[in-house]
């Protein structure tokens, strides 16, 4: 209801009472007459009318400059309202400068990045972690149906109990904790925003479930800037910290591009050390077997020839010699008949 300065006497008693309640003025006794209401109305509402207009303008400006996120933050936060409104009214240059003070690697502040950097600055200004602002409602609607399992989607739905009933949430709390531990173990550097509120409960479970990542939940609560490097430092102690955060993947040579075979890009996954050995052995053994076989064949042939030269009785060449011997006898008989036939016989013999 607009708080116009009209003659309160003209308003009904009920209207006056509602107006007073709207301006949070303590109502007089129910028995008191209209005049009491009128007096109170004149005293408080009239005094506030000027203030109301100016505060309306401020609110309007703030909302026009900021985004929907600001409204939600104002609902939750109490002490940082001034900072929140300041952030949205900073120029691009000022916003970038303030972020650089906190050591953030700031990129170009354009339309699509502006809200992100504003949010980041707000988080940096306000040390206490606030509830996550990501699409909690959306998590219930969207799910990525892929080869990865969808159980985590269901767990997230239950966690943000705004979607489901409170009783349902409590009943599945244990499952949520387990599911979230799986979530945490899979994406330690990202899930902090999503699971910020549940981390205190999960300290015990974290140590039980995933010992490798146990230090992580305790580090979540205080600040957002630090845990990124701390967690990754614990996980990958050997790497150097970069301005944007530790990159866990080392730079790989460009495989899989420009016609290079893809199957060797991830050599770890397809073959185990056993298969690698087998492949190598196969490469050596195949030619070796062939070489041995060929060698044996040649050796056998040589043996045959050598034995033929020596005149072993079993050898087939000896049989041939024997036959030639027979022919010699025949020739001897025939030669007595006609010496003129010798040349043809000789030629035939040869």
């Amino acid at each position: 209801m607009p708080s116009f300065v009209e003659d309160p006497a003209q308003l009904s008693k009920r209207r006056l009472r509602s107006e007073l309640a709207a301006h949070s003025v303590p109502l007089p006794a129910a028995d008191s007459g209209k005049e009491a209401y009128v007096e109170l109305y004149r005293r408080h509402v009239a005094a506030r009318s000027g203030a109301d207009f100016s505060s309306d303008e401020d609110e309007g400006r703030g909302q026009a400059g900021g985004s929907g996120e600001e409204a939600s933050i104002r609902d939750e936060g109490q002490k940082t309202e001034l900072e929140v409104m300041d952030v949205s009214q900073l120029t691009d240059v000022e916003l970038k400068a303030r972020l650089l003070q906190y050591g953030v690697n700031v990129g170009p502040i354009v339309a699509s990045t502006r809200t992100l950097y504003e949010k980041k600055l707000r988080i940096l200004l306000k040390p206490v972690s606030q509830p996550p602002l990501n699409g909690a409602g959306y998590a219930a609607q969207y799910s990525d149906v892929e080869d990865e399992d969808d159980d985590d989607d269901d767990d997230e739905e239950r966690d943000y109990g705004s979607v489901h009933a409170g009783g349902h949430l409590e009943a599945d709390e244990e499952q949520d904790q387990e599911g979230h531990n799986q979530l945490e173990s899979r994406s330690p550097d990202i899930s902090k925003v999503a699971t910020g509120t549940k981390d205190l409960m999960k300290d015990k479970n974290a140590t039980r479930k995933s010992p490798a990542f146990s230090p992580k939940p305790s580090v979540f609560r205080p600040q957002f800037k630090e845990p990124v490097s701390d967690i990754l430092m614990e996980m990958f102690p050997g790497t150097e910290p970069t301005p944007t955060g530790i990159s866990a993947t080392c730079r790989r040579p460009i495989k899989g591009a420009a016609g290079r075979p893809v199957q060797f890009k991830y050599p770890d996954t397809p073959s185990s050390p056993g298969t690698k050995e087998r492949r190598e052995l196969q490469r050596h053994l195949v030619p070796t077997w062939i070489q041995m076989l060929v060698f044996l064949l040649v050796a056998f042939l040589f043996y045959l020839i050598f034995s033929a030269m020596q005149g072993v009785p079993d050898s087939p060449s000896a049989v041939l010699l024997h036959r030639s011997g027979h022919e010699g006898e025949l020739l001897g008989d025939l030669s007595s008949f006609a010496t003129s036939e010798d040349p043809p016989l000789v030629s035939g013999e040869e």
Partner: protein, 90 residues
């Protein structure tokens, strides 16, 4: 992510060219449609946003969650996928 999906490996194996946004790891049909409605119809447009944020993993994940309602796991997959692609080809 310490383990990668087949979709991740397929994407990181070659230049993305004109691949649709659903080719990104972590982006399925639903999220893909949402992104296309917002104008991010090809994977390279999403890559553009990643690069404008100076390849900041944290910021990009947050952006992705805000803009299309991805959950932490999906956003992390997509970010990791893009990051590795950049390491290989950029």
């Amino acid at each position: 992510m310490l383990t990668t999906s087949q979709k991740h490996r397929d994407f990181v194996a070659e230049p993305m060219a004109e691949k649709p946004v659903t080719a990104l790891a972590g982006i399925g049909d639903v999220l893909g449609k949402k992104l296309e409605e917002l104008g991010f119809d090809k994977a390279y447009v999403v890559l553009g946003q990643f690069l404008v944020l100076k390849k900041d993993v944290e910021l990009f994940t947050e952006w992705l969650k805000d803009i299309c309602g991805a959950n932490s796991r999906q956003a992390a997959s997509c970010t990791q996928c893009l990051k590795e692609w950049c390491d290989a080809f950029l």
